[in-house]
């Protein structure tokens, strides 16, 4: 495949991060869930609701 005008090989521009888009999407979703779990732990560990 021919290089693009900016000198970057076309193959690197079209190669998805982590090898496949599906895997990257999975990583994003899993990380989002991990962040939510961390925030859940954070809330449970530190937050004390006001006594009504």
């Amino acid at each position: 495949m021919a290089d693009r005008p900016d000198g970057e090989p076309a193959t690197t521009a079209t190669r998805p991060p982590l090898g496949s888009w599906a895997l990257l999407y999975l990583v994003v979703c899993v990380l989002a869930l991990v962040v939510m779990l961390l925030l859940y732990w954070f809330t449970q560990r530190f937050n004390l609701p006001m006594a009504s």
């Binding site: 998805p16 925030l39 809330t43 004390l48 006001m50």
Partner: protein, 586 residues
């Protein structure tokens, strides 16, 4: 503010304007002006997406939100990473399948001219309404800090941003956004560092700070169990009369509203709002556009949590130091009026006592070993002291604020957006103060410039060149585009001059967006998945979506994140039914 701060501030302003104006070389045709010649690197487009969303409201309003309500606001961003993935799968390939300059162009090809024009009009209305607030919020802050009149600050922000955006087009927007985002992050890190330097010696560890802030209910970052589980929403009349139990839909922030309501808000904002969707058209190809979107997917929730945490630490700072009773300059001025001075003085005394009691109770709780939850008596005393301080502040704001509810009774005029400014003005050392003010300015400009260019793009591409001057040359359209950028800049500045918003502006912006966004998302969902739908179904669907939101808003008490779902369902229901009755002609 000293000379050195002014120098830092002016140096930054001059640099941004110069950087924006020098991009004019690439903006000599419509594709250059509105799509950056499709040559913007993904990381620059990604930073621009983040900078556009991280307006001055993020810096000022979100820290204030953290100070007043703790971390709960972070939940409204939980749907964002999932929204980005869905946009990458469905919308980005669709947008990049044609060389369009606004996403609404695709709607004409798929449905017809009515659907395109209506969707573009909805975008213009929603953004125009919000843009005044986006200029107003930092202007208030800067006027307080710089000792300027608010109108002067509005004019400076509006004129500078309109100037470089008009000349340089979307390339100017994106490349200035990159620098502005860096300054925003640097400014936030500096404030975080300053707070830590102050608080660490008092508490001994970061964990101890979190224990004490958490004991005041400031660290509720994820609420799984909703406070109310009834699914039938109450009417506004019921709410006013105090009849019936609050429903699930009335709770503003919990994980369910954040993941599902937030999902639809962010799908629509990043996918269908031209101020963000335009970024997806500026990169070389669909893969680059996907990468720029996923950048926010990784960074946004942690960043928003970090900004809220700064607000919480600010609360801790004021709980351990002298705290002003009133943060808003208007309130302070009103409190000095002869009519109110006596009552305010009494409240000041009450506040000083409550503040001291909170400080003592906090010290007692912090001195105890282990989890504050294990010390029930001290915890109860501390929480009661926290509530007492907030109670006096609320009474003072209500007294001097002059705000009234729908029945004419005085109501709380919140000062959420003034807390950050007061903190930096009182506590930041020279040079850093100049930098932080530059960061607020950067945040304001990075959002305004994107919206201005997007408003101009939609006006020229979807209306001027489509309806008014269909055969006009590229050169004429570009000239008109620059003029329209100036026009929208003037409108936004004018709106900001007469804006009188109180409360949390970040919430208000999201609320205004939520009235429109569900419908915008609905029309694109129909374009992708409802093959039978034609122009009539698209146009009626949009009307149905907007009407559904209006009806729900006027009748029942439902929190704003759910409006996105209501609008989407309204479009799909009305548009789907129309498509069944009058299918698209092929």
């Amino acid at each position: 503010m000293g000379t050195i701060d002014w120098l830092v501030f002016f140096a930054f302003l001059a640099y941004v304007v110069w950087d924006g104006v020098r991009r004019r070389k690439g903006a000599n045709d419509l594709e250059g002006y509105y799509a950056g010649g499709r040559s913007i690197p993904w990381w620059a487009a990604g930073l621009s997406i983040m900078a556009t969303q991280a307006s001055a409201i993020t810096v000022i309003g979100t820290t204030g939100q953290g100070h007043e309500f703790g971390m709960e606001f972070v939940q409204s961003y939980f749907g964002l990473p999932f929204a980005m993935v869905l946009l990458c799968i469905f919308l980005v390939p669709y947008y990049r399948s044609r060389n369009v300059l606004t996403p609404y162009e695709l709607l004409e090809e798929r449905f017809g001219p009515a659907s395109r024009s209506m969707a573009s009009l909805i975008f213009l209305c929603s953004r125009c309404l919000a843009l005044g607030a986006v200029i107003y919020a930092p202007s208030v802050a800067l006027s307080a800090i710089l000792g300027l009149d608010t109108a002067a600050a509005v004019l400076v922000i509006g004129a500078l941003t309109t100037g470089y955006t008009m000349v340089g087009g979307v390339s100017a927007v994106i490349w200035t956004d990159v620098k502005q985002m860096s300054v925003i992050l640097l400014g936030l890190l500096l404030v975080f560092g300053m707070l830590l330097v102050d608080l660490w010696p008092q508490f001994g560890s970061f964990g101890a700070m979190l224990d004490i802030a958490g004991a005041a209910d400031k660290l509720g970052a994820l609420e799984v169990v909703p406070a109310h589980d009834g699914l039938w929403p109450r009417t506004h009349a019921d709410v006013a009369a105090g009849v019936g139990e609050p429903s699930f839909w009335e709770e503003k922030y919990n994980v369910w509203a954040g993941v599902f309501g937030g999902l639809f808000l962010h799908l629509s904002y990043f996918g269908c709002d031209n101020s963000q969707a335009q970024r997806l058209l500026t990169s070389r190809d669909a893969d680059q556009s996907k990468k720029s979107l996923l950048m926010s997917a990784f960074a946004k929730v942690p960043m928003q949590g970090f900004v809220l945490l700064i607000g919480v630490l600010m609360w801790l700072f004021y709980a351990t130091h002298e705290q002003p009773l009133l943060f808003k300059p208007d309130h302070v001025a009103a409190a000095e009026s002869p009519a109110l001075a006596g009552q305010v003085a009494a409240l000041e005394v009450e506040f000083a006592t409550a503040h001291e009691e909170r400080k003592v109770a906090m010290r007692e709780l912090a001195a105890l070993d282990g989890d504050p939850a294990n010390h029930a008596d001290e915890l109860r005393r501390y929480q009661a002291a926290v509530v007492a301080v907030e109670h006096v502040r609320r009474r003072a704001r209500t007294l001097v604020g002059g705000a009234t509810d729908e029945h004419g009774a005085p109501k709380d005029d919140r000062d959420t957006n003034n807390i950050f400014c007061r903190y930096i003005l009182d506590e930041m050392p020279p040079i850093l103060l100049g930098l932080i003010i530059a960061a607020i300015f950067a945040a304001a400009m990075s959002s305004i410039d994107s919206v201005l260019n997007a408003l101009s793009g939609a006006t020229i591409i979807d209306f001027y060149r489509r309806w008014l001057r269909p055969g006009c040359s590229e050169r004429e359209a570009l000239r008109a585009g620059k003029f329209v950028t100036l026009f929208w800049g003037a409108i936004a500045t004018f709106t900001a001059l007469f804006f009188a918003g109180g409360g949390s502006i970040i919430e208000m912006i999201n609320q205004v967006g939520s009235w429109f966004y569900g419908s915008l998302l609905g029309i694109f969902v129909m374009a992708l998945f409802v093959r039978r739908a034609g122009d009539l179904a698209g146009a009626l669907g949009l009307v149905g979506g907007m009407t559904a939101v209006l009806v729900v808003r006027a009748t029942v008490h439902v929190e704003f994140l759910w409006y996105n779902v209501v609008g989407l369902l309204g479009v799909l229901l009305v548009g789907g039914l129309t498509a069944l009755i009058a299918p698209r002609r092929t």
